[in-house]
C-alpha cells in the first residue's frame, strides 16, 4: 500500500494539475468546435523541437523548448488568421491540414538527420507515471500563470477579433506543448475533451461546467491510476479508457436525471429488444456455422466456464480439460527452461553453444506442443457445438422469445394498479 502510494503520489498530483488547466481550455475548445487543435499544436511543437535537434541542440534543452514555443506561436498566428475563412473551409479542416503537414515535415527533417532523430518525438512525449518533481513544479507554475493571465486578457480584448483568437491559440499552445511532454498525446487529449464534455452534459453555466469538469476529471484520474496499479496495466492507456468509461457513465446519468420515467421505461424496453435480437442472431449463426467464432457463446463461456457442461458430454469435457492441463504444463516447462538459461548467463557454469541450441530446440517443440493442445481444445469444443447446434440455437431463441414477449405482461402490472 505504502509502495503504491509512493509510486502514485506524483502522477496523481500531475493528473490533478493537468485536469485543472485542460478542463478550462477544453470548455473553450468545445465551444469553438476545434476539437483536434491540441493534436495539431503538439505536432507543430514537435516539429520545432526536431528542427532544434537538427541544428545541434540537445533534445530536452532550453533551445529545443524555445524552438517548440516559437513554432507553436507561429501556428497560433496562422490558425487565428485563417479562422476568417471558416465560412468556406471548416476550422477543423484547417487544423487537420496543420497536423498532417507538421507531421510530414518532421518526417522529412528526420530523414535528413545524422542519427537517432526519428525517435525524437518519442523522447518529447512524456509518460505520466515517471513524471519528475522538478518538471511537474515547472508545469504547475506555467499552468497557474496561463490560467490566471489568459481569462484576464480575454476579457480585456474584443471577442472574436484576430488578437483574441491569437491569444487563445497561443495560450493553449504553450500549455499543450508542456503537457504533451509530461503525459503524452493520448492522455492530454482525454484530459482536454472528456472532463469538459461531462461538464457540458450536466450544466449550462460556465462556472458550474468547470466545477463539474474538475471534480469528475480528477476523480476519474484517481480511479484510473488505482486500476492501473491493481491490475498491472499501462498507466496512460488505462487512464484514457477510464475517462471513456466516465463519459459513458455521465451520459447515462444524464439520461436518468433528465428523462421522465416513461422514457426510461421505453429505453429499457429497447434494451431488452436489442438483447433479444442479439440472441436470435446468435442462434441463427450457430445453426448455420457452428465451427465459426461465436462471439456471444464465447464470451458467455469465458465469463462462466460451467456453461460448457450444458452442451459437452463428460468425455469431451475430460479431453478438453486434459489438453488445457497439458498446455499449461508445457508453457510452465518452457518458462522454466528459459529462466534456467537466462540465469546461467550470469550465474554458475556458462552454457556452451550446443546447450543453447538444445534449449532453443526444446523451446520450439514445447511451443509446437502447446499449439497442438490448443488445437485439441478448440476441436473438441467445435465438434460438441456442431452436434448440439440445434439445442443451443433453440435455447437462445427461447430466451430471446421470453425477453421480447414478457415485456408487455411485465409492464401491464403497474398500469392495472390503481393510481
Amino acid at each position: 500500500m505504502i509502495e503504491a502510494l509512493s509510486f502514485l503520489a506524483l502522477p496523481a498530483l500531475a493528473c490533478a494539475a493537468l485536469v485543472a488547466i485542460h478542463a478550462y481550455f477544453g470548455l473553450h475548445v468545445l465551444e469553438r468546435n476545434v476539437i483536434f487543435v491540441d493534436l495539431a499544436l503538439a505536432q507543430v511543437a514537435a516539429l520545432g523541437a526536431t528542427a532544434a535537434f537538427l541544428l545541434g541542440h540537445p533534445p530536452q534543452g532550453l533551445a529545443a523548448h524555445a524552438y517548440a514555443l516559437g513554432f507553436t506561436v507561429a501556428a497560433a498566428a496562422l490558425l487565428a488568421s485563417t479562422r476568417a475563412w471558416s465560412g468556406r473551409i471548416p476550422q477543423e479542416a484547417q487544423i487537420g491540414v496543420v497536423y498532417v503537414v507538421a507531421a510530414a515535415a518532421a518526417l522529412l527533417l528526420v530523414d535528413r538527420a545524422p542519427q537517432g532523430a526519428e525517435h525524437i518525438r518519442q523522447i518529447l512525449t512524456g509518460n505520466i507515471l515517471t513524471v519528475g518533481w522538478s518538471e511537474l513544479a515547472w508545469a504547475i507554475a506555467l499552468y497557474a500563470a496561463v490560467g490566471l493571465a489568459y481569462p484576464w486578457i480575454a476579457r480585456a480584448l474584443k471577442p472574436s477579433g484576430w488578437i483574441s483568437e491569437f491569444a487563445f491559440y497561443a495560450a493553449f499552445g504553450v500549455v499543450v506543448t508542456s503537457s504533451v511532454a509530461l503525459a503524452g498525446v493520448l492522455l492530454v487529449f482525454a484530459f482536454l475533451i472528456i472532463p469538459a464534455a461531462i461538464g457540458v452534459l450536466h450544466a449550462t453555466r460556465f462556472a458550474s461546467q468547470l466545477a463539474i469538469a474538475w471534480i469528475a476529471g480528477t476523480a476519474a484520474a484517481f480511479v484510473g491510476l488505482a486500476i492501473s496499479y491493481a491490475s498491472d496495466l499501462s498507466t496512460g492507456a488505462t487512464l484514457v479508457c477510464t475517462y471513456g468509461a466516465a463519459l459513458a457513465i455521465a451520459g447515462i446519468a444524464r439520461g436518468l436525471r433528465r428523462e421522465r420515467r416513461a422514457k426510461f421505461g421505453a429505453a429499457l424496453r429497447l434494451g431488452r429488444w436489442l438483447a433479444a435480437a442479439l440472441l436470435a442472431a446468435s442462434a441463427i449463426w450457430i445453426a448455420i456455422s457452428p465451427r465459426a467464432d461465436q462471439p456471444l457463446l464465447d464470451s458467455l463461456e469465458h465469463a462462466f466456464p460451467a456453461i460448457r457442461g450444458a452442451y459437452m458430454d463428460a468425455k469431451s469435457l475430460a479431453i478438453g480439460a486434459e489438453a488445457a492441463a497439458y498446455g499449461r504444463r508445457y508453457r510452465d516447462e518452457a518458462d522454466k527452461l528459459r529462466a534456467r538459461e537466462a540465469e546461467r548467463r550470469w550465474k554458475g557454469e556458462p552454457l556452451d553453444e550446443e546447450e543453447v541450441r538444445r534449449i532453443a530446440s526444446f523451446e520450439k517443440s514445447y511451443n509446437e506442443m502447446i499449439r497442438g493442445e490448443e488445437f485439441v481444445t478448440r476441436e473438441v469444443r467445435s465438434r460438441a457445438r456442431e452436434a448440439k447446434r440445434w439445442w443451443i440455437a433453440g435455447a437462445f431463441l427461447l430466451v430471446a422469445a421470453i425477453l421480447a414477449v414478457s415485456l408487455p405482461a411485465w409492464r401491464s402490472i403497474p398500469r392495472s394498479a390503481p393510481r
Binding site: E3, A4, F7, L8, P11, Q60, D111, P114, Q115, G116, A117, E118, H119, Q122, I123, G126, N127, L129, T130, V131, G132, L225, S228, Y229, A230, S231, D232, L233, S234, T235, G236, A237, T238, R338, E341, A342, R345, W346, K347, P350, L351, E353, V356, R357, I359, A360, E363, K364, N367, E368, I370, R371
Partner: protein, 292 residues
C-alpha cells in the same frame, strides 16, 4: 542457359567490386571486414533508426535491384525487406538466390518463442530474440556466413576474403579478452528494452529486469514498483537505455534504485563513437565497466 549464366557472372568476375546491400549498419561493418576493398557495401536503414519499423524509400529499390548480394538480420527483425526483394525483381538476391545472405543462419538463438503462442510472451519477435550480433562471439559466425556467400559469388577472390576475415577475428579475439576483463565485476543491470540477452550471456552480466516488456507498451505502475524493489535488492549499478529510448523512465528508476543511467548503442552509428562493429562493442563495454 550457359550464355545467361556467363552474362550473369560477368559483372562478378570483372574488375568491378561486388555490390552488397545490408539492412543494418552493423552487418555492413561486418561485411566490410570480410570483403575489404573487393566489395562496395551500403546499408538501407539510416544509422540509429528503428530497424523494425523502417519504411524503404524509392532509392532503396534501385540499390537492391543493382545489388549482387543482400545481407539481412533475419529472425523477423527486418521483415520489410521481403516485399522490397519481391518488387526489385533481382533474382540473384531473392530468397534462395546465390546473393541472398541471412546472417542469422547457424546462430544459436536465445528466448525462442514461436509466433502465435499467445499474447503472454514478452518479446514481440516471432522466433527468438533478434539482437544476436551484440555477442562478439556471434560475429565469428556471421562473418563465416558472409565469407561463404562472397566466396560463392566471387570464387577468384575467395582466398583474400578468407584472409580478411581471419585478420578481423584476430583483432576481435584480442579485444575479447580486454572486454571480458573490463566487465568482470560489473554490477547487476536493468534494461529499458530486451535488447541485451546475447551481450549479457557473453560477458556474464545479470539483467534483473526489463522496463518495457512489450515493445511500444509503456510499463504499469506496479511493474515499475516491482522493478525498483528488485533493483534495490540486487544492488543494480546501472539502468541501461539506448539513445532513442525515453530518458525520463530510465532516470526515474535510477533515482529510485540509486543506480546510474548508462546509454548503450545496439547499432553502428547510433552514437558517433560507434564507427564500426568493434568500436560499437568497445563503446558499450566502456559505458558499463565499473569505474576504477
Amino acid at each position: 542457359m550457359t550464355i545467361a549464366l556467363f552474362l550473369g557472372l560477368e559483372g562478378v568476375v570483372g574488375a568491378e567490386p561486388l555490390r552488397l546491400v545490408s539492412t543494418t549498419t552493423e552487418l555492413e561493418s561486418l561485411a566490410i571486414s570480410v570483403g575489404g576493398e573487393l566489395i562496395v557495401a551500403t546499408h538501407l536503414i539510416p544509422a540509429g533508426q528503428d530497424a523494425e519499423n523502417f519504411q524503404p524509400r524509392p532509392q532503396d529499390l534501385a540499390r537492391v535491384r543493382e545489388a549482387q548480394a543482400v545481407l539481412r538480420v533475419g529472425v523477423d527483425y527486418d521483415l520489410w525487406l521481403d516485399p522490397l526483394l519481391q518488387q526489385a525483381g533481382n533474382a540473384r538476391v531473392r530468397r534462395g538466390g546465390a546473393g541472398y545472405i541471412d546472417a542469422s543462419t547457424d546462430i544459436a538463438l536465445l528466448d525462442v518463442r514461436a509466433g502465435g503462442v499467445g499474447p503472454d510472451d514478452g518479446h514481440a519477435h516471432g522466433r527468438g530474440n533478434p539482437h544476436y550480433w551484440l555477442d562478439p562471439a556471434n560475429a565469428a559466425m556471421i562473418t563465416a556466413t558472409i565469407l561463404e556467400a562472397l566466396a560463392r559469388l566471387d570464387p577468384p577472390n575467395a582466398k583474400r576474403y578468407e584472409a580478411n576475415r581471419l585478420a578481423f577475428l584476430e583483432r576481435l579475439d584480442a579485444k575479447m579478452g580486454e572486454w571480458k576483463r573490463a566487465l568482470e565485476n560489473a554490477p547487476a543491470l536493468i534494461a529499458y528494452h530486451d535488447t541485451w540477452p546475447y551481450f549479457a550471456r557473453r560477458f556474464r552480466l545479470r539483467f534483473v529486469g526489463i522496463v518495457e516488456l512489450r515493445p511500444g507498451v509503456p510499463p504499469s505502475a506496479s511493474h515499475l514498483a516491482k522493478l525498483a524493489r528488485e533493483g534495490i535488492e540486487a544492488r543494480v549499478g546501472a539502468i541501461v537505455r539506448e539513445p532513442h529510448e525515453p530518458a525520463r523512465d530510465a532516470q526515474f528508476l535510477a533515482s529510485r534504485t540509486g543506480a546510474r543511467v548508462a546509454v548503450l548503442a545496439s547499432s553502428v552509428g547510433a552514437i558517433p563513437e560507434a564507427r564500426d562493429y568493434i568500436s560499437l562493442i568497445d563503446y558499450d563495454v566502456r559505458a558499463l565497466a565499473p569505474s576504477r
